[in-house]
């Protein structure tokens, strides 16, 4: 095992610190075997980072779009075991940095060490576990994730007190996941993301990790707004929605990504 090989997430942030686009997709959605083909299409686009959602029956932090995709994925027969089976071929099709994102119960039932071990063996670079408490990260997840060279990106919100942000940044690896506003995923009620003072305040703190903003990033407009204050942003529900509705993923996925990335390139040049 070459566990000390450089992690792809670290490698990404060494090369690039601006306008990082991360895309979230639910595993096993819309069909059981779609995960790798979708990643293969994404690999041809200008996406920088991927997050594969582990479907869970009771996703309390998710809005209707990801809830529904999770239900469909589970009905399709997706399990963590099936996912790891499918991910065996992951590194034959892409070298993008990839994280798994899921609820802690899935990891607990799979077994925490087998989970990190299988992540490593499948070429997964990091994980995001939104309901993992900091103390359990310290005692259980930190040692095991380090053993298998898996980054654990921890989450902060606009209301997280500064002292706690520092404690979380200290522990987080890969990047810091900044939730844009206090909402469940896919809440596009407000048209612009909540780029208030507290968000700018957070991104201006002297932190160890790069920051990606997630939740409520619907399209190009929100993405470029987020990129003004952070290193990049994560698009989830909006992309999952596309997966659910598209009849031609081969065409629609690259179009979706270039719509988000194009205007930023124009501004820069």
């Amino acid at each position: 095992m070459k566990i000390n090989m450089q992690n792809r997430i670290d490698h990404l942030f060494e090369r690039k610190q601006k306008n990082i686009l991360s895309i979230f997709l639910t595993a096993g959605y819309p069909n059981l075997t779609d995960t790798l083909p979708i990643i293969k299409i994404l690999d041809t686009t200008e996406v920088d980072l991927l997050e594969i959602g582990i479907p869970f029956s009771d996703p309390i932090a998710d809005g209707p779009i990801i809830q529904q995709s999770s239900m469909t994925a589970l009905n399709n027969g997706t399990t963590l075991k099936v996912m790891f089976e499918q991910l065996k071929d992951l590194r034959k099709i892409t070298q993008l940095p990839i994280l798994l994102m899921g609820y802690l119960n899935s990891v607990m039932q799979y077994g925490v060490e087998p989970f990190y071990k299988n992540c490593h063996e499948s070429g997964i670079d990091g994980v995001i576990l939104p309901d993992l408490p900091l103390d359990e990260f310290d005692t259980v997840h930190k040692p095991l994730s380090e053993k298998y060279n898996i980054k654990v990106a921890l989450i902060i919100s606009p209301l997280t007190p500064v002292s706690r942000i520092k404690a979380i940044d200290e522990r987080s690896s890969g990047f810091l996941y900044l939730v844009s506003s206090n909402s469940t995923t896919g809440n596009f009620k407000t048209n612009t993301i909540n780029l208030n003072e507290s968000l700018k305040h957070i991104t201006s703190l002297p932190l160890k990790n790069k920051i990606l903003i997630g939740f409520g990033i619907k399209g190009q407009k929100e993405f470029s707004e987020a990129c003004e204050v952070a290193n990049g942003a994560i698009i989830g529900s909006s992309f999952v929605n596309l997966l659910g509705n598209s009849t031609d993923l081969q065409k629609d996925i690259p179009e979706f990504i270039s719509k988000i990335k194009e205007p930023i390139k124009t501004i820069q040049s």
Partner: protein, 401 residues
């Protein structure tokens, strides 16, 4: 007083169970509560207001009734703790009033809650009407149908009842929706959880608000039979709040046998059950590490019980702990056994119990009591809300009898 051996520790755990497994967005709310609940609950102003409400609004202390006919039937001495006589018809009001007083002191203006049988929803809507606060109740679509009288009461009380349409459309799903609402409205909203479930400090806080049940039992027993401790305390367990309240002051008196009763629905092996401790495994549900019904992949499985209040795939972490360390014993009762107990109590004592409470009564025929033993059954609620269920069940099963 609260025990150390069986009580929550400083980190919010009962043994390995409990904790706060929540998205970061909820951290401030839960932390604020954690840092303030004990101090507020122990302040004189809170105590005075709470105790006054319990006495003059709820009607506490609730009677401890010596059920002579039931005692004769089971050849022992049975007392019923009459939580069914509380204002709004169940123990749930003890907790709802306690939490609303806390919410007021924390400056929250908008109240949300989940409900299964509708008793916690009615209690919360009642507390909100009393305090003039906005009230939104999440309730599974199936429960809205089977507990229609309580939905009507909540509406009349001025609450907004929102149907939870996901999953099995019962208590678990109503709780998911309530948590999602909370995530979207953290700054304005206080979430009144209805049982000893959810992230720390909820399980401990709710147990403390319900502990008035065993506090009264002790002094009432002392008066009636000359000693505080019965031989058995029996209570039904959905999330486990009425049981936690009935056990609370007896936890350290290990000669008192504590019996919790879960709903096994159509039977433990039928796949239509809600007996979490019997068929569940430790995991995480609604912010707490505890036993829950789940498949190998960790997906929470749909529970079933005829009783909406017990139709829940998790259980409060205190009960997972008491179960593991064997301080309490957990039995289970089917729909049919509970229905039998409903008819029995109604016709023997003239008391129509809630379907949830009937699960506690149904174990009386399963235990071998001695004649001089004292058995207290916590009658957690009254059966008015279940009349339709009772009538339908009896009609459907007329021929089977």
């Amino acid at each position: 007083m609260a025990t150390n051996k069986f009580n929550v520790n400083d980190q919010g755990y009962y043994g390995e169970y409990g904790g706060a497994y929540i998205p970061e967005i909820l951290f401030n709310n839960v932390e604020e509560l954690k840092n303030n609940y004990l101090q507020i609950m122990e302040s004189d102003s809170f105590k005075n207001e709470f105790e006054d409400l319990l006495k003059n609004y709820v009607g506490r202390p609730t009677p401890l009734y010596h059920a002579k006919n039931l005692s004769a039937q089971f050849n022992t001495t049975i007392y019923l703790k009459r939580e069914d006589l509380n204002h709004t018809g169940a123990h749930k009001i003890n907790n709802a009033l306690g939490q609303i007083l806390l919410a007021k002191r924390l400056g929250k203006k908008r109240i949300i809650a989940e409900t299964g049988a509708g008793q916690h929803g009615v209690a919360t809507a009642t507390a909100c009407a009393l305090m003039g606060l906005e009230c939104i109740i999440y309730m599974g679509e199936i429960d809205i149908e089977r507990q229609a009288p309580n939905v009507a009461r909540m509406n009349l009380l001025g609450a907004t009842v929102v149907a939870a349409l996901s999953g099995s459309r019962t208590l678990k799903d109503a709780t998911n929706e309530a948590i999602r609402d909370w995530i979207n409205n953290t700054e304005t909203t206080y979430y009144i959880i209805g049982s000893v479930v959810g992230p720390h400090p909820y399980p401990d806080m709710v147990a403390r608000f319900q502990s008035v049940i065993s506090k009264e039992m002790k002094s009432q027993l002392l008066q009636r039979v000359g000693k505080e401790n019965p031989d058995y305390v029996i209570a039904c367990v959905g999330g486990g709040s009425n049981a936690a309240g009935a056990f609370y002051h007896y936890l350290d008196n290990e000669e008192v046998q504590l019996i919790g009763v879960e709903a096994s629905g159509k039977g433990i092996d039928t796949g239509h059950t809600a007996a979490t401790l019997t068929i569940g495994k430790p995991g995480i549900i609604h912010g707490s590490k505890t036993y829950l019904m789940q498949n190998e992949d960790g997906q929470i499985t749909e529970p079933y019980s005829l009783s909406a209040g017990l139709d829940y795939p998790g259980i409060g972490p205190i009960h997972s702990f008491l179960h593991d360390v064997k301080r309490a014993k957990y039995l289970h009762v089917t729909d049919a056994e509970a229905m039998h107990a409903v008819v029995n109590l109604t016709q023997k004592e003239g008391i129509i119990p809630a379907l949830e409470s009937a699960h506690a009564l149904a174990v009386l025929s399963k235990l071998n009591f001695k004649e001089n033993e004292i058995v207290v059954v916590n009658l957690s609620g009254r059966g008015d809300k279940d009349l339709n269920t009772y009538i339908n069940y009896l009609n459907e099963n007329k021929h089977a009898k």
